[in-house]
Structures are given as C-alpha cells and as structure tokens.
C-alpha cells in the first residue's frame, strides 16, 4: 500500500482526517497504472479516492501537454460542484494543477481554448466525451491522457448513454493506450460485469460497508387504501415524522405524486416548516435554489423524484421517507443512502405504502434491503442504434478502416458479442441507409476512398452529427409560464410571464382551457398555448384535476416480485404485516386461495352483466399489459368476447361477455392453452404490426441512429413532425424490409422495455403446469385492488376505430338526449 506524500499527509492531518483504507488502495492501483473499480455505499470520500492518484502524480511542477485526467459524471449540474470541491485541496496544498469543466453549457470560446491550452483535469459528461473523440483534433488532445474516472458507474451502465460512452472509451484506449480507468460505484448485484465493462484487468476495491440501515414501514392507525397511489391517508403521520427529524428527503416515484404529496404536506403544515419540492419538470434555477437551501440546512424536508437519486450530498439529511412502492432493493438502498453520510451510523428510513399490494412490496423490499440484497440491472449492451451513431462519430474524426474499427468496437464489454456480419450491416446503414435496393449509393454519407478507408462524404455531415448526437430522447416538453389576463374590448388577452418549468406535451394535450392541475406546488388553471408554450394562471383554493397516474418509470424488480410471491405463500412471513393487511390475506385464503410461490392464481367470476378473469403474475405493469393484449386476442378467437383489460404492477384483469367459468368447466377454454408460450409467436407478431408502443420505440432508435435528425443547421424540426414521419417509415420498412437493422434495434429495445417480452416469456415458462384456477361466485379480496382501477383507464387492443366510433357515438347520444 502506498503511503501519502508529506504534503498530503499534513493536509489530511490539518483537517483531522485519516485517509481511509480504500482511498490508499485506490492510490496504490492508480500509481501502478492499474485500472480499478471502487464499490462503496454513498459517501466515504469516493470522489477524493478517484482523484487522489492524479493529484499525487501532478503534485510536482510539470508541463501540461494535454489532458491528464478525464472525469466523467452523468450529471451536468454536478460537474461544477465537483470542480469546486476539487479546487479546495488543490489550493490548500498549493498544487500546480489546473481544473476545468466542459459540458453542454460551456461557451464555444472556452472549448476552443481548451483545445489549444488543455487543463490537467477536465470534468465533463458522457456526451462531451463522444463529441471529443468525433473531433479531428482528438488524437492530439488525448495523447498524454493517463487517467479516466467515471462517477456513478452503476447508473451510467444501465442505459444507452452508458453504451455510447463504452464505445467512446474504446477510442480513448486507442489514442492513449497507457491510460488507466477508474470506476466509482454504489453497491451492485454483479460487480464482475461492472469490472469487465471498465476494462478486463480492472482491480476491485471495496469501501467500508457502513452500518446497516434502519428501515421500517409506516404502521398507520388509519386504513391502508385498497388501491390508488395517493397515500393521502399517511400525510399526518409523515408530517409528524419529518417534524422530529433534522432534514428529511421524501422520495416518490412520479412527478404527479410529488406534486400531490407536496400539496398535502403544506395543507398539514401548521408549523410553517420549510418544505420544498424537487423534480425534473421544475425550472433548473428553482431546483438549484432548493439544493443551495439544503446545503445551508435551511430546509426541513424536500419532496423529490429520482432527480435527487444521484449527486453530491446537500446538507445533513438524517431521515428518508419513501412514499409508494420502492420497486427494487438496490434503488431503495441507494435512496436510503442519501441520509446520514457518516458511515458508522445507520441511515434512518420509513416506507409508506400507498395501497395494500404495496404493503407486501414494501415488506419484501425492507427485508431485502436489510440483508443488503442487490437487484440492480445488468449493464445494457449491444444497442445497434448507438453503434450506428458511434460509427458516424468515428468518421467525423477522420477516415477509418472497417477492420480496425470492428476490432476496436468489439474490445468493449458492451459489444464483445457483435458479429462481423452485424457490424457490416450497421456500417452499410450509416453509409447508405442499408436498404435492399442500392438506389441510395449516390447519396451515401460514407464513401470508400482508393485506400479502402471509409470517409465522410461531406464536411457538413460532421456539423450535423454534432447537433444531433446523444442518446437521450426526451418526450417533447413545452415551457409553462404564468399568464397575465386582461380584458380588452370585451376579449380576454393573455400575456406570458415568468417561466415555471416544463411539462410533457402529452399531458398538456389532454387539458382543456379552464382545467386545473398541480404544478410546482400550486393549483394552476390552464389558459391555453401560444407560440412559446403553455400559459396558466394561479387558481388558489380550487380543487386540482389530479393527473392520471401513469405508473412509475421503473417496473417491480424480478427479485422483489419473487419475494412478494414468497410472502403470499408463507404464513410465517406475514407476521410482520399490519393487522388489516393480514386480515385481507386471511379472507383471501378462505374466499379463494393464496397460491404457492411457484404457482399462478387465476380467478374467474361474474359481476353485474360481465365476467371477469383475474390473474396474478407479479411481473410489473409493462409485461402484464403485453400479456393483456395477447390474451384478449386469444379470448376473442375462442369466443369469450373480451371487452377490455387493465394491468397493475401485480395483477391483470380481463372482462368478457362470455362466461369464462362455464367455458373452462365445459372444456371449451383451457387455461393451459390460453397461457401457453406460443402466444409469443403469431399473436405477438400480429399485435406488433399495429402497436403504437413499437412505433414509439422505433422512433427513438431512428433518432439515435441518425435516420431522422432533430436539429438541422438553420432550421428546427419539431419532435412532432418526426413522430409522424417515423410511424410511416416504420410501416414502409415492416412491409418491404422486415430484416432492416433499425427494426431489429427497435425490437431489441421493446423486448425488454415498453412491451417487456423477455420478462413475459420467462413468466410463461415459470407458470407452465402451475396454474391454479378458482371459479368464484363473486370478486375475491385479492382482486379488489385491480378491479378498482377499472374506469380510470381501460384499453382494448389499440383499436383506433373502436375509440373513434365511441367518441362519435357519445356525441350522438348527447345530441339526441331529450332536453
């Protein structure tokens, strides 16, 4: 183990700090030029551990001949904070080291200067690294690169941003073969995959695990609701808890939940506690204000979404509340880790389930988290649209040989299984679109020169690449401003005022003028749109039309789902549940049955003039929605006349006109056949042909792969126009070239994304021969929550015409009603 140079020793000593063992270990690996992955719960001086080798190496006077250390953070806002935190030790030890940041916000002039006079340490984002390597000056700029540090690696590897970054790293390795790679990560399920992701020879360093967290579930004196996601019942109890704590973070899963909880807390806020709100739709300046107030400990509690999952620690948070289901053990641990950053003390957390099924999920999560069980996802690999973007980026940097680029790309963990045939297909796509017809050769983006190298056909393409690169395709957002309303000549005139934040265009499209909704903790009245975005006025005292809950972005993890099934199956595991929930499960066990952990329960029963089928796969809303789509197709074919279905995170309900209990009894309907894996054949194919989900997925791939450009020099193409176009392109490709690389990319994304077919497939395999059927006379206790969801939203297929006809019928009914 390396000891610290004297100047560092005395710096630590002056602050009464002791270098931690993992910091010294990281220093030793760094000085030996070895790549290393530091896995440690939040806190524990991780950032300093990453930088320490660089600081020691550059402590002596030296000449800067290029960037020495590249520090990559997934959060743009963090770059500035990290730089500031780093400048303190550099100044205090009087080290001759220059530090600069480079993000999307860095002015052009400073980027130019960084190219000519590079700093020792450059703090930047994944996208900026991809831009850096797409520049012809990259080789020169990166020639003396010694160290690359990637912060929050566990989060980076989980999406397409990480996939693109992994490809950029292969380029860095080519330009600077001696550079070492350092990853800083929270605890993950598979640390080996993370190591491989960085570099095959990576050494693993573990930080101090710290004291285990103290997690409890709110034992409410009032009744836990059967369904819904509002958790209003718990507000007084949450309020009482945050009053006791120094500073609390209140995590929720969606923006609308955040707004709702924030609003309710303020209604209960008799003591006028400073309670703030933090979510991704709020104006950036407003979020920075909240963070600053946290840092100064001026705030008592913050209601927040995943926007505060990552990042540096603001203030002395000592209590974390999680409202709603935590969805995964790793996610929960990460969030709980935001409280109390002294490792030797336990973090304090409270889970607040918003309905009865969530009580089960919270219990499962509490157990898993107390054991430190991790269920973080395996790194995302092999995205063909990202590959296409990278190939174009490489061409922007200069001509390349296909063989060399293939070797370089397959050196990445993420593309180690990329076949040459698929690579060639991607290359062909980038060059000419990759169509079966050779019609586009004269319009090629890449052309082969005499030496066989691929080069950019036109320099303008590099400019367009820079304007369009990146993997984050956000839903189209519109700015929301406070409107001034005046009356002029008897007409209402609106003028736009201060910007409150941004809202999804989809959400706004649902509003009619006069509708009220919650935003930024206020009730607003929608006033209309102008050329700059949406306008609203304040409507205090009015009831908000609460936006429909769209479910969280994250489905229940497979691991937690298994544990929830385990709780249902095992009475001894139910003893920790609140009495009312135990009573609910008890009633279920005699009214119907509680299935074994390896079984799936299917209940059928009549209600009013319809017949219902409820099954409980516990596989998350996305997979179960796909299941619903496929089952209704089959039930239709078998004559059960399905009318609609609803999927929750836990259960799926389908209602029909046909009596399914009778059909099953007479052998006309076989549940084994209904749930057979063969539904993933032709039925899936037929559904996907018209699925809007597939079209949305295809659109994202088309944008990332550069088929459609978001920005074009001189004019802005709006996301809406792109949507229309990509739908039509999707139809054309499906009909004429079903093996096109972008259809494959879209399929890969959808299979574990929006339609979650991978999980559905695994579930169908699991329940084969394990279906327990109960024909009941009435709804069972377990089925009540999902039945309560009916009416909030119901879907039958994606039948366009049926809905349009319904809309027309409603008008007819309205028109013919007797006055």
């Amino acid at each position: 183990m390396s000891s610290l140079p004297p100047v560092f020793e005395s710096w630590f000593a002056a602050r009464r700090w002791q270098p931690r063992p993992h910091q010294l270990q990281m220093l030793a690996h760094g000085l030996a030029g070895e790549s290393a992955l530091l896995i440690s719960p939040t806190g524990g001086g991780k950032t300093l551990a990453g930088f320490l080798p660089t600081l020691v190496q550059l402590a002596e006077p030296h000449e800067t001949s290029g960037i020495h250390t590249l520090y990559i953070s997934p959060l743009k806002a963090l770059a500035v904070d990290i730089a500031r935190n780093l400048e303190a030790p550099i100044a205090e030890m009087k080290l001759p080291i220059t530090v600069e940041t480079r993000t999307g916000d860095t002015p052009h002039s400073r980027r130019q200067r960084q190219r000519i006079i590079p700093p020792d340490i450059l703090i930047t984002t994944p996208e900026q690294v991809s831009l850096l390597i797409a520049d012809p000056t990259a080789a020169h700029l990166l020639r003396s690169l010694k160290s690359v540090i990637i912060d929050e690696l566990h989060s980076v590897v989980s999406n397409k941003r990480g996939v693109l970054l992994s490809l950029a790293l292969t380029r860095l390795k080519t330009h600077a073969p001696e550079a070492r790679f350092t990853g800083l990560s929270a605890t993950v399920a598979d640390s080996d995959a993370l190591k491989q992701w960085l570099s095959p020879s990576t050494k693993l360093v573990f930080g101090n695990a710290g004291a285990p967290p103290k997690i409890r579930i709110l034992e409410s004196a009032t009744r836990v609701p059967w369904s819904g996601h509002r958790a209003v019942y718990a507000i007084p109890e949450i309020y009482a808890e945050i009053k006791k704590a120094k500073m609390s973070l209140i995590f929720v899963n969606t923006r609308s939940q955040a707004e709702m909880v924030f609003q309710e807390l303020w209604t209960a806020n008799e003591d006028n506690l400073p309670i703030a709100l933090h979510h991704g739709s709020l104006d950036v300046a407003q979020r920075r204000k909240v963070e600053a107030a946290m840092a100064e400990n001026k705030i008592k509690a913050v209601v927040c979404t995943s926007t505060l999952d990552l990042g540096i620690d603001w203030g002395d948070v000592d209590f974390v509340v999680h409202v709603g289901a935590p969805k995964g053990s790793s996610r929960l641990l990460q969030r709980i880790g935001r409280a109390n950053h002294r490792l030797d003390e336990s973090s304090n957390a409270m889970l607040v389930p918003s309905n009865r099924f969530e009580v089960l999920e919270c219990e499962a999560a509490r157990h898993a988290a107390s054991e430190g069980a991790q269920d973080s996802e395996y790194p995302t690999v092999m995205k063909l649209d990202v590959l296409a973007q990278h190939i174009l980026g490489c061409a922007c940097a200069g001509p390349f040989h296909a063989d060399q680029l293939y070797t370089e790309i397959t050196s990445a963990f993420t593309y180690r299984k990329l076949t040459r045939a698929l690579f060639d297909q991607a290359l062909d796509y980038v060059a000419t679109g990759g169509y079966a017809l050779k019609a586009y050769e004269r319009y090629a983006k890449l052309k082969r020169d005499a030496s066989g190298k691929y080069r950019l056909a036109h320099p303008l393409l590099a400019q367009r690449y820079k304007m369009n690169m990146g993997t984050i395709i956000a839903a189209e957002m519109l700015k929301l401003r406070i409107a001034g309303v005046r009356t002029r000549l008897g007409k209402r005139v609106l003028t736009g005022g201060r910007v409150l934040g941004e809202l999804e265009e989809y959400f706004l499209s649902q509003l009619r003028i006069g509708d009220t909704f919650l935003f930024s903790g206020e009730v607003l009245r929608f006033e209309g749109l102008d050329e700059f975005g949406a306008l609203a006025t304040r409507a205090p005292g009015r009831d908000p039309m609460v936006p429909s809950y769209n479910g969280g972005k994250f489905p229940l993890s497979t691991y937690l789902a298994e544990r929830v099934r385990g709780i249902l199956a095992d009475k001894s595991k139910q003893q920790f549940l609140p009495p009312q929930v135990r009573e609910w499960l008890n009633t279920q066990s005699w009214a119907s049955v509680l299935p074994r952990a390896d079984q799936m329960l299917v209940e059928t029963f009549p209600r009013a003039d319809k017949h219902y089928l409820v099954c409980y796969p516990f596989e998350g809303r996305l997979a179960q929605q796909s299941l619903g789509m496929l089952l209704t197709r089959r039930l239709e074919r078998w004559g059960a006349k399905p009318m609609g279905f609803i999927a929750s995170e836990y259960a799926l309900v389908i209602w029909t006109l046909g009596d399914m209990s009778a059909m099953i009894a007479s052998g006309k309907l076989s549940l084994a056949q209904l749930f057979d894996e063969d539904m993933l054949g032709d039925d899936l194919d037929a559904w996907l042909a018209e699925s809007n989900l597939m079209k949305r997925t295809f659109r994202n791939c088309a944008i990332i792969a550069g088929l459609i450009e978001r920005n074009y020099p001189g004019k802005q193409k709006t996301a809406r126009q792109v949507t229309v176009n990509t739908d039509l392109i999707y139809d054309a490709l499906r009909t004429h070239q079903p093996d096109h690389i972008l259809l494959r990319a879209a399929w890969d994304d959808a299979a574990d994304g929006l339609i979650d077919i991978h999980r559905l497939g695994a579930m169908l395999k699991r329940i084969k021969n394990q279906i327990v059927h109960k024909a009941l006379e009435r709804v069972s206790p377990l089925a009540v929550p999902v039945l309560l969801e009916i009416g909030r939203e119901s879907i039958y297929g994606e039948a366009h015409d049926a809905l349009l006809a319904e809309a027309a019928d409603e008008l007819i009914a309205e028109a013919t009603r007797l006055v």
């Binding site: 586009y440 319009y443 088929l707 229309v724 054309a732 490709l733 499906r734 119901s794 349009l804």
Partner: protein, 247 residues
C-alpha cells in the same frame, strides 16, 4: 425472444373501398371520401387525389437523410387499388404529385410503368403544385393550374377569399386529433365547411398538419366546419369543436 423478421401475413395497407358511411356535401355536389384519402365525385365520375409526393424518400436521401426508398411503390400500389375500385372516367391530381421537380427522373422502371399505365387508361389531369411547378413530361396526361368541374373549382393551394364559389384544394395535408378515454388519436382528415373542402395528402410519407394550427385559420366558417377523420376501417365525422388543439 430473438428478433425474427417476417413479412407481415396480412398486408398493412389501408383497405380500399369507398365510404358508405359519410358523404360530403359541397354546395349542391355530393362527394364520396375514400379511406385512402382520395375523393370520388359521382356526378362527374371523377376521382381526385391530392399531394402524392412521389419520390419523397429519394428527395430526402439527397440531403443525407436516408429514409427508405419504398414510398413511391407503396403510394402507387394504393393508387392502383383505389382507381380500379372507383373506375372513374377521369383522374385529377391536385398538385405536389412529386416531392421535388426532379422526382420524375428518379422513378424506377416498375413505378414508371405503373404510372404510364394509369394515364393510358384514364383521362388524367395534373394540377401543378408548389413542389412540382411543372407538370410531368413523360408520364402522359395533361398539366394545368386549375380545373373547373361544374360549380367546383379544383386547385392546389386554397385561395384566401372564396366569393360564393365552391373549392376543393390540397396543399395543407390536414390532420386532426382527439382524446378518447385518456388516449390521443391522430389521423389524416378531410376538412370542410360546405363551401370549401381541403383533402388529406395521399403520399405514403406525408403526415397530417393539425387543422387547429394557424395555417388553416381564416379558411373556414368555424360553426360549419367538420373533419372527416380517416380511421383504419372507417371514416369518422366530427364537428370542429370536438377536435382538440395540440400545438
């Protein structure tokens, strides 16, 4: 689940057949909208088609935007279908038949053959548009600026003021959306107020511009305006007040 490319078993083409559900009345003339976006005028046995935008794919490809080149073939197949179903005496293209003025020269052999065959069998009029200011040179048929069909005036761009005349135009690619059960439905549409009718674009890659957007303002008398929205198997008629603004 592996990716297993398969040609769709049932063609995803829009089904053909003239709508029996809705007739559009313009002045005293009865018009029949088709699911393809074409419009049949029984009194004159004339089929009208707006904004084919042939060779739109290759037009974009010239700028390095490599959308698939199959649009012309898809559009022409649909055209052949509606022509053989309606079997009109006369065929009128309402302008923007090609996406750019050189489109005609980029047609491949098969598409060229299809088009010539159509103009050989049916009297064809090519109204010129802003994308194709010259009528096609080698495809047969006759070029023109406007066509008068009894009381109807047919032109590419709608005129700014109608003085008691009836007009059928294209150019704007009308589309509309509405919300039903929390979901957004969007489609191409015909839009008219009994005096003027604007037709949807026929081309495979053409989209729909919301009829609530500024491009349509001042063209219709609001209280009389209806949209005939093209669904998958039927055309649905809505008053303008039911159409929700989206932009």
């Amino acid at each position: 689940m592996p990716f297993s490319p398969k040609l769709p078993t049932n063609s995803s083409q829009r089904p053909l057949g003239l709508s029996k559900q809705h007739k559009i009345i313009l002045g005293d003339v009865e018009l029949v909208p088709d699911l393809s976006g074409a419009l049949y005028v029984p009194d004159y046995e004339t089929l009208i088609i707006a904004d084919l935008h042939l060779e739109q794919g290759s037009s974009l490809a010239r700028r390095g935007i490599h959308v698939p080149p199959y649009d012309t073939a898809i559009t022409l197949k649909l055209l052949e279908g509606v022509v053989s179903a309606a079997h009109p005496k006369r065929l009128i293209f309402l302008g923007d038949s090609f996406h750019d003025s050189e489109g005609e020269n980029r047609l491949d052999e098969a598409d060229l053959y299809t088009l010539r065959n159509i103009t050989k069998n049916f009297e064809t009029l090519w109204i010129v548009g802003n994308h194709d200011p010259q009528p096609p040179q080698s495809l047969g048929g006759q070029g023109t600026e406007t066509v008068v069909l009894g009381s109807l005036s047919l032109r590419h761009e709608p005129t700014s003021h109608l003085s008691g005349t009836l007009e059928i135009a294209g150019h704007l690619h009308p589309g509309c959306g509405l919300n039903q059960r929390g979901r957004r439905l969007y489609g191409k549409c015909f839009v008219g107020d009994g005096q003027r009718l604007i037709m949807p674009a026929f081309g495979a890659y053409t989209g729909g511009l919301a009829i609530t957007s500024n491009a349509f303002s001042g063209l219709f008398s609001k209280s009389e305006t209806h949209a005939w929205m093209i669904g998958q198997n039927a055309i649905h008629r809505f008053p303008f007040s039911r159409i929700q603004r989206r932009d």
